[in-house]
Amino acid sequence: MATTIMDALFQRTLEDLIKQSRLNLIPEPTFLSRSLDEIRKELRATDLQTKSIALRKLCYLSSLYHVDMSWASFHCIECMSSSSFAIKRIGYVSASQSFDEGTPVLLLATHQLRKDMMSSSVFDSGLALGCFSLMANGDLAKDLCNEVFALLGSSKVLVRKRAIGVTVRLFEKYPDAVRVCFKRLVESLESSDSEVLSGAVSVFCELARKDPASYLPLAPEFYKVLVGSRNNWVLIKILKVFARLVSLEPRLAKRVVEPVCEVMRRTGAKSLVFECVRMVLSSLSEFESAVRLALEKVREFLQDDDPNLKYLGLHALSIAAEKHLWAVLENKEVVTKSLSSEDVNIKREALRLVMAMVSEDNIVEISQVLLNYALKSDPEFCNEILGSILSTCSRNLYEIVIDFDWYVSLLGEMATVFHCQKGEEIEKQLVDIGMRVKDARPELVRIARGLLIDPALLGNLSLHRILSAAAWVSGEYLEFSKSPFELVEALLQPRTDMLPPSIRAIYLQSVFKVLIFVASSNFMERDLNSVSFHQSSAIPGETSKGESIINLLNLVESSVTPLLGSPDVEVLERARNVVGLVELIRNEMSIQEQNEELGFLKLVNLLNDAVSEDLGPVSWNAPDRVSLPDGLILRDNLKELDAVLGGIELPSSSPFSVGVGSLFGEKTDATSSDSRVIEDLEVTNESNESTSLLSEHRRRHGLYYLPSEKSTNGAYDYPPANDPKSEEAGTSGDADDLVKLATQSFVSKKRPSNAKLRPVVVKLDEVDAVPVEQKRAESNDNLLSDAIREILSAGEAARGIAGANTFPPEESKENSRPIKSSSRKGKHRSHHRKEKDSSHSGKQERDREGNSRSRRHGDGRRTRERAGDSASVMAVATIVPDFLLE
């Protein structure tokens, strides 16, 4: 004991700790670890006072130095139970800072919380409620539900308003609490005490944010508040509530619009004015006079010197832009002026508005102005401008672009903007336009030439993607190129070393195309010459052409040959192709005197045909739209394929492998897989061969394969590339398909990870993980809204009987009994709870369910309410007319 007293006497307080930290005598890590050691030791003391001071220090360190304090959770509970308020407070404060739903000692806190909540001291219950609101989990909420209910009726304002605030967390964690507490919460809306009222309104605002439809029946109560209250805070919140309700129930708008305008005219508080403006512009936009009034206020905001108001004014305009574009046009000057503001927020908002004003007629001027402006502004904003131009122009397949020559040259100009980081997007659009817009191709090739020929651009990393597009475009649409020779020089210039291999490969592929083009046109010509213009074959032009071809071949050979040692397979392969072709042409030219080039000519022509065939844009779900040819039984075929393929995986269903990359490399892959599926045995033979090659390879180099060797089994587990089921269901809407696809892949995911690493598979997992989670969250939300709807409909029925706004007592008694909801979701949840809470025997559960079911059968209205969850809005709407007709 003596040591404890000594410890207590000489214990460092928080102040000492802070002082020491400020002195900077020792480096921070040492300071932290020393202090933590000290705190650990002190926490072991039996004396609560010492403990609380230590805890307080720990709290400080945790909050400002981000030290983990979860290990001290038990000490928090100890301090919470102290009779001294100072110590109790420290306990609660540290608990609210460090606890979360999963903290194991939370169970121990239940009793203490209950005791303090019901304490006669306002401060005690305040602490307990505050703590509860931060850390309550389902069990705690369930256990303390009745206490909160009691406090909701407390005569002390301080306690009551806190209890009201706590209900948000309570409902979220334990939806059944609605049946107990909701009535009192609604009553608080009519409270004469403004603090209680504002608490209640805030709670409804928060609740309505998640699920507005459930609160439509409360519209009359809200309306009373809207008309009656003079409190700005309350009005802001109630406006937010109404903004959400009105979007669900248009008839409400008529009732609300007048009071809202009234508030807007009356108040001097900017926050409230802005809230009104936002509401009118977003939810009441069909009321002309209200919109005009709101825009008047917006103009005042825009004229204001305060950047905050200016920003909010612009923000309001962008809300209005959707339905009232004229409002933006009216303020065009302010908007364009704001573009040059030094405030990022204002600039951004102005940019958004400028883009909203863009139309077919002014796109050229606006883009030019913006581009010039981008050149002058800081890198970040410059890219934002470029990004918004790109996205606006490409919207709906370049809907607003009429002059594609202009647009293509704009893209080229963008590429040369110094800070440009939008390479990927520009690349995509260049290729896309090339494929979609035939008429733009000559200009496209011209721009591409300009980009390729400039050696300076190769040094800029962010431009590489654009260059790859340029290389592809100029190879693909070679016929528009003025000088293929120059193009080859550009494609093979020494600085192309700086390109990443994937883009290098595209460059080489373009060289390949040029070679074929040159060869075929040259030989064709010569062919013609030899037949009909034999005499003139000796003119100088001819020989010079031959020479230039030889020069070309030499150039290509000399610069491509080093690439034969490239470690990158793509580059290597293409380099080989090119070198092979060069040799072929050489041979051919050396024996040109003999007229035996017919075979070669054929080959060149074939290649030329293959290369110059137009590639069209491919929709990512195109494979789904292929109709089933007659006589093809897809399922059988797939099975056979699976069996034959053995160790090979099919490239998985293409919908997920979108991307520009597929245009170049993977494309051939994907199409070949499709043809593999649809076509015939010859192909399968081929793949069979490759299978055996692969397994041979695996046998020899098993070391380098992934550890699990059940590859043959693994391959069977892959979903077939084109699942017949999803094909059949193709008509049932995109969303359904997505869900189905997701669940399918979810099932297939469970297979052991012997599946070799394939990016596409990973993608599938990512895709399906999200919807599953969403679904879960949804169901939790639904519990709450179900509960609230049930309560409200019951209340409504009661109101019908009593003819008053208050609930008759017997009804409320029924409400306050925790009822197991027996809807589909209720069942699901009770199942879930059973695992957690062993006190509920299955029999009880069934009894209750039976009870409530029979009750529901008696109550026609409620049954109707529950009939369809999806139609819930409609169901609730049936209640509202009373108010609307008032």
Partner: protein, 187 residues
Amino acid sequence: MIKAAMVISAQGKPRLARFYEHRTVDEQQDLVRRVFSVLSCRAENVSNFMEADSIFGPDSNLVYKHFSTLYFIFVFNSSENELAMLDVIQVFVETLDKCFKNVCELDIVLNYDKSPKISHYICMKYIRLAHLILNGILYQGQSKVRSLVMETNSAEILRSVEELSKLEAASSAISLVPKPVSSWRSR
């Protein structure tokens, strides 16, 4: 709903960080750092909003005010009004000023780094106030905020603070801790 409230010094050190959605300490540290890295790049005399969706998740707004060497930051969702939150910051700061009654201490709030000695107490009191005021704002007494927003000012908060300190002093007087130590605190 308010998601977080922070006070960060101009050097990027958190002076107060309260999160009303549970975050682990590592997350907290990360959030503070990211917020500060954005804020520190912003010029003076610009609007007091910051896009926070990328840092705090969807449906997040952030307002801040820069007083001398301190950034006061509030993060909230769409249930709150931006201008009202700015008012809240204003009154929060005013309340802090009033809590440290004499002018000298008021100066400390504003010139935090010039007088490190006394600023310890401010640090500490930030914490205490924060719990009181911020908890009040968020989950319980919207009333407090109401009074804040109406700018009928912070007298009420001040009163609660005093009551609370009295209560604390009373309860700690019984303890074994010598009086001088606790009187330090209330100085």
